[in-house]
Amino acid sequence: MIYVIDHKDSFTQNIVHQFSLFDKVECDDLRQIDKSKLKKASTIVFSPGPGSPKDYPDSSKIYNRFKGKKKIIGICLGFQQILYCEGANIVEQKKIYHGFQSEIITNKFSNLFANGSKFKVGRYHSLKLKEPFYAKNFNVTMRCVKSKVAMSFENNKDKIYGFQFHPESFLTINGNLLIKKNLIDLKI
């Protein structure tokens, strides 16, 4: 079962429907987390949402508790939340991407995608990962072709993954494939 933790976003249900293609999905508001669902889940997903990671200490707690024990996926704010827990600075960027379609490219650090694969993706973020950033076993694996901003990371040892863009957006071409790679192909 996949447990989606909702940060009261207006895109969360798109994620629920997308992940439902691959497994049973449960979704609750961060303030109404069900501990037994959390225990039962094989994968925890941190949803997008308004604000910045420091506004969600409860999500950080959940992350720190289950890191290395369950597969964890973060999207947009969720991506930033995970990196924030790993010591990253999440900062405002000059150009803001709300409702943008951009091209992104994978690099040689990706375990899931061939080096140099390009995707068109939908973005909704005003904040970004401040680089350089280092954390044990974490690698930035996708970047915006134009701005070079970090667009995804992989930690294949602990099975932690994140996307700064929105794989569930209608602006993302082949978003289902991206999620499938994270959920299904990794089981093998």
């Binding site: 009261k8 895109f11 439902s20 308004p50 405002e92 939908g122």
Partner: protein, 387 residues
């Protein structure tokens, strides 16, 4: 046959009535056998009402009316701070016993009873508008909202003939979700273009609009599409609304069933082009109408995104109750089907005070002067009726 002086007759009869646009013309509903004034307590009961679906289904087996903005916030547990309030009902639904079909061309000979005042007072001047605007830009940079709509309100004291206003408005601005309500102590006139919910059987659709272009002789439909596609601000706003509405529908629809049927197309109306998308889904089993209303209202395209945090930002900033503005008007049929619009481009006349509310979107690359004027342009079509 409906006689030419039909509208005069009904208007003179002092009966309450409602007119709602259909694809071909208008429907007029009257002879109300009940009128339910909604409040935060009785709304659940009203929406959970089970109707007998009997075989002799009549075309008046429905409740028609509106939800105001405040009651919709309350339904999704968003609290409004104390605001200036004219104590207009939070929502009203009527049960009609008579439905009359009217042609698109409404014929009405107005009485000369309009005591209209041309001058309107605006509740937020340019200086305070720019202040609010800059505060919201900061919130966008900080990620608290991605898009937010600042609402301004124009008011004056006038005694109007609502039917005369509605007929004139329909001649210049024939909108697919236009409606009017004439009741004893208030009237509403609207040329809303936007459908929020169309529910037929187990299917539901929504048709958000983000992007409007005034028609001129030089601009055809093709050129309008090009204009919208090249306009990055409009495109981003539209994209956001599409993803938000997909998510809202997904709350009540079967996984995998929510589809973008029309993606960013241009619809042509009498005086305007709209940039429109159509999203449809198949409802989950056992979804109730109240679940649908909670999932979809207030309509996201007139609020901003993400909905809850943006509503909170808006509400804390607004000093006056929005009343009907950005609420929804429509009907719930006894067989469960529904049609609801978003109440925009409308006049509320209550106790001989007219109010017109408008809003325009702030995204990070908006310009405050432009948006302030945009609000005025939106209000002008209605203000011009007071001449």
């Amino acid at each position: 046959m409906i006689k030419n002086n039909f509208l005069n007759k009904i208007n003179n009869s002092k009966q309450s009535y409602i007119i709602y646009k259909t694809t071909k013309g208008f429907n007029l509903y009257t002879d109300f056998s009940s009128k339910i004034i909604l409040n935060n307590k009785n709304i659940d009961k009203f929406l959970s009402k089970k109707f007998k679906s009997n075989k002799n289904y009549k075309n008046t087996d429905l409740f028609i009316g509106f939800f105001g903005y405040e009651i919709l916030n309350n339904l999704i547990k968003v609290k409004l701070p104390k605001q200036k309030n004219i104590n207009f009902p939070k929502g009203i639904f009527y049960k009609p016993e008579k439905k009359i079909t009217l042609k698109e061309d409404l014929i009405y000979y107005p009485n000369k009873s309009n005591k209209v005042n041309k001058n309107f007072k605006i509740n937020i001047n340019k200086k305070s508008y720019i202040k609010i605007f800059n505060r919201f830009i900061k919130k966008i940079r900080a990620g608290e909202t991605y898009q937010i709509k600042i609402c301004t309100k124009y008011k004056n004291k006038s005694k109007i003939d609502p039917l005369d206003f509605f007929c004139r408005l329909s001649k210049t601005n024939l909108a697919p979700e236009a409606f009017m309500i004439k009741d004893k102590n208030f009237s509403i006139i609207s040329c809303s273009p936007e459908n929020l919910i169309t529910k037929k059987g187990s299917y539901i659709s929504t048709k958000p609009i983000a992007g409007t272009l005034r028609k001129t002789k030089k601009i055809n439909k093709k050129k309008a599409l090009k204009f919208f596609k090249n306009n990055i601000k409009e495109t981003k706003e539209h994209n956001m609304i599409v993803d938000m509405e997909r998510s809202d529908l997904s709350k009540v629809c079967k996984p995998g069933s929510v589809k973008l049927i029309k993606e960013k197309t241009v619809e042509e109306y009498k005086d305007l082009y709209h940039y429109v998308s159509l999203i449809r889904g198949k409802l989950k089993k056992n979804v109730k109408n109240i679940d649908i209303i909670k999932a979809m209202m207030p309509g996201g395209s007139v609020i901003g995104c993400p909905k809850i945090s943006t509503l909170n930002l808006l509400n804390n900033q607004e000093k006056e109750n929005r009343n009907i503005y950005t609420g929804s008007f429509g009907f719930i049929k006894f067989n469960g089907n529904m049609r609801f619009n978003i109440i925009i481009r409308s006049i509320l006349n209550y106790k001989n005070i007219s109010e017109i509310s408008v809003a325009s979107g702030v995204v990070v690359d908006s310009n405050s002067n432009h948006e302030f004027n945009e609000n005025f342009i939106k209000a002008k079509a209605l203000i011009d009726l007071y001449k």
